[in-house]
Symmetry: C2
């Protein structure tokens, strides 16, 4: 029996002062949602989905509600979920007018023979699955409108390990503010923006998508860990490599298959939280590690099974 | 000064007998086109583009003209090109109604700050770039219509090394026959379906996209080569790992930074050709290695600079 653990992030970037507290609260709430699933005996994949759903529904994060706007002032969202037991994954990219892309990503994984659906094809699949269509306006936050001038980006992600030793990860994002319509970064792509393998560990990345892609960041970390490198060292080295090789910056959250927790970022801030053995850790600024009891979290009205 | 070399493939699968010769000729013609660029002092990236353009224009291959059909009997194409000197890449996915997706992929690399554009956004960018819109029917071959019942797939790809030691790779495909609209596999994604790094080597993969993605096939091979494993051994081991871990089959073409050539496949056939020092090698069946002088190839009406 493995000790369950979940780690989440709300993006690595320079977090504006007026949303620092909302970001901190949002990541804690997401970690709690995932931990509630895990500690009631749920699976890693359900915990990841529950955590990311909270991040998508929190307007200060660039995913689901609060997604940044494209150059055409539309919302195009990307999400992925991966099961470390089977290496199966599901992803959607450039999907529009749905509230929780992570749920659609999971349906791609479980209800198709494919691993990624993009654009109108992804929306067609959402219709087939009976997912409600929501107006673009309902996904747009004041912050996202402001950011269109500032070119922000802050992907969300989660990695979980359940009591049976199964790992899963997920990532959800609105991408880069002011992006060309149709732009896809690293986020919805396994190997680049994240990975999960029960034999090794799980990862979710955030930061400059094109740089993360260039160095195949997640697989670089997994490969180092597979040959015995400690999770923290693997994360630090891969981010240093990305900075020196392509001048790219970002952050990662990592769990090893044994439940070791690592997080690292080369940006000014990363909002993160992780929960294990009844304690939740969180931080936004370098060096921060606030510890509290996890406490209860009511998954009211939330069906994490699909 | 490095000895230039180019290798191409027209897909790893069970090639129907009636298109074996057309496949063999097509890969040879593509390798010759790329080799003509290289031997006249051109760059690896131009050689890759020239070779893939030929593969896209050859109807027996599942890329450009000859792309397989989606479940809705439409054509949705994916392509990528990557520069091993800078690690920059450009990709398009689910693009419709253009003749040569590889050219649009290169424009994404060179004329945007992004690395991938998908769906209608990719077509919008094609319009901005002044690329001619062609009717879907002009891209559909008789073979593709027949294959819709047989569920075929056979990506095309090329890897080149130029006299200055620069590596590049590209991949172009119509994906899997009968796919859901919006489906994207490994092909247009660096790290999964291919990779190029001047420090190590270049790779293009073909086969079952979802399996290639699961094991991050291209980066697995690059990583082994980076730590000193021979190209052929790295390719063989990674394909064996994919078969044992996820029961996935396919093929790869590889060049090391020193110009060593490797190719490997776990399917019945792979059409391939490579050219170096005035000789072209080619094959379709296991054990085959036909050698001839490259001879001339007229790149008539073809502008490989963009």
């Amino acid at each position: 029996m493995t000790t369950p653990v979940i780690i989440v992030h709300g993006g690595a970037w320079t977090i504006p002062k007026d949303i620092v507290e909302e970001s901190r609260d949002g990541t804690k709430k997401a970690a709690k949602a995932g931990y509630t699933v895990l500690s009631s005996g749920g699976t890693a994949i359900d915990a990841v989905q529950a955590a990311i759903r909270v991040l998508e529904d929190t307007p200060c994060f660039d995913a689901g509600t609060g997604s940044v706007l494209t150059a055409k002032r539309e919302v195009e969202m990307d999400a992925v979920i991966m099961d470390g037991r089977t290496l199966k994954s599901g992803a959607v990219a450039c999907v529009q007018n749905i509230k929780n892309p992570i749920e659609l990503a999971r349906m791609v994984m479980e209800k198709t023979s494919h691993s990624m659906l993009v654009g109108p094809g992804a929306n067609l699949f959402a219709e087939e699955m009976g997912i409600e269509r929501v107006p673009t306006d309902s996904l747009v936050s004041e912050e996202a409108v402001r950011e269109l001038e500032a070119s922000g980006h802050d992907t969300t992600g989660a990695v979980a390990l359940d009591k049976n030793g199964n790992l899963a990860y997920g990532t959800s994002t609105g991408g880069i503010s002011g992006k060309k319509p149709g732009r896809v970064g690293d986020s919805p792509i396994i190997g680049l923006g994240g990975y999960a393998d029960n034999d090794v560990g799980g990862i979710s990345c955030t930061g400059h998508g094109e740089s993360i892609s260039k160095v195949v960041l997640a697989h670089q970390i997994i490969t180092a860990m597979r040959t015995g490198t400690d999770a923290q060292e693997a994360a630090d080295k891969a981010l240093a490599n990305m900075a020196s090789r392509v001048e790219g910056y970002g952050g990662v959250i990592v769990l090893s298959r044994l439940g070791d927790v690592a997080l690292s970022y080369t940006t000014d801030n990363m909002s993160w939280a992780w929960a294990k053995e009844g304690t939740i850790h969180s931080g936004v600024n370098p060096g921060e590690d606030i510890q509290e009891p996890v406490g209860g979290y009511a998954l009211i009205g939330y069906e994490y099974k699909i």
